[in-house]
């Protein structure tokens, strides 16, 4: 595991976190404003913002998985896959 590889993933994750937070804040602020304006689009924006927020860690783990496959880091491939399966299973069970 070289340092260069790791910082590349770190850069990806940082960018992902920043973009995710900004988009979430924008959607939630917009949604809240529309909510008080009594507009029906509020529900969509609020839900979108919350789903976006929940997508940030998922995207971070997907990025880690892609990186670990590229570096053939088996321990990380298995651990990221496991966590993604737990998330997917929760989603599927919740939707049923």
């Amino acid at each position: 595991m070289s340092d260069k590889d790791l910082t590349r993933l770190e850069h990806q994750i940082r960018r992902l976190l920043r973009v995710g937070v900004v988009l979430t804040a924008a959607a939630l602020t917009g949604g809240l404003v529309l909510f008080f304006a009594g507009m029906s689009a509020a529900t969509f924006l609020l839900d979108a913002g919350l789903i976006l927020l929940m997508a940030i860690p998922v995207a971070r783990i997907v990025a880690s998985l892609a990186d670990s496959i590229r570096r053939r880091d088996r321990l990380l491939v298995w651990s990221t896959t496991f966590v993604l399966i737990v998330m997917a299973a929760t989603l599927i069970k919740s939707l049923m």
């Binding site: 770190e10 979430t24 809240l32 913002g49 919350l50 737990v86 929760t90 069970k93």
Partner: protein
Amino acid sequence: MLATVVSIIFAGCVAGALGALLGIGGGVFLVPFLNLVVGLDFKTASAISLVTVIATSSVTSATPGRLELVNLRLGMVLEIFTTSGGLIGLVLVYRAADPTLQRLFAVVMAVVAIVMLSRLHRRNIHRDSSIDTGVLGGRYHDPETGAEVAYRLRRWPVAFGISLLAGIVSMLGIGGGVLKVPVLNAWCGVPMRIAAATSALMIAATAVVGSISNFARGDIVPHLAASAVLGVLAGSKLGFAMAARSNARALKILMACVLLAGAIVYVWVAGR
């Protein structure tokens, strides 16, 4: 309606700032506020607080200098246990009645207070940089001493066990870092900064598992959750800006007292 939203944004802001200043998540303050002051039922309060954990985690980890301290390998392996614990926690929380959960939360508040008081002088474990870091250890550049510090994970069953427990407890609406970080530091050889930064990034994964389920159940009221998240985002930013100029020691003692008082109130409320 507007008053509720404004008070939740304010509470989120305070919780976020305190979290950033004290180095703990804000959930331990936010849950009782939403539950006891705003008057939401416990499950709704903890579900909203859990969503804000994702926000706290993301904004904290995106802060300059934080991600360099994260041990991504260790974090990912421990996430196996925190997310599994989260699943167990969800089942327990859904089955338990509110007074039971309030009593449990009182215990958590007391533990957080004791941990805060016992760790007023945090210190890093310094080691020879030539040691073998093992599969889950790592190296980092300590900004305080300028030296390279190497560490390896010791007593891994303890690390895995505490992660599982933290995952279970986090379903009460907190991140769980307050349990993991001291144990990883004291017993597993992980330097304080690394344990804190790694935990801060990890907690979002557990919070997502809980939030997906809570969202589907309708425990997350969108406009209230949005208010809390926006408050926490603003508060965290504020907290980081203030951190350089604040007296962490005095604040820790004060907040430990607040938490202990809160725990007593919770036990009393649950007993009525």
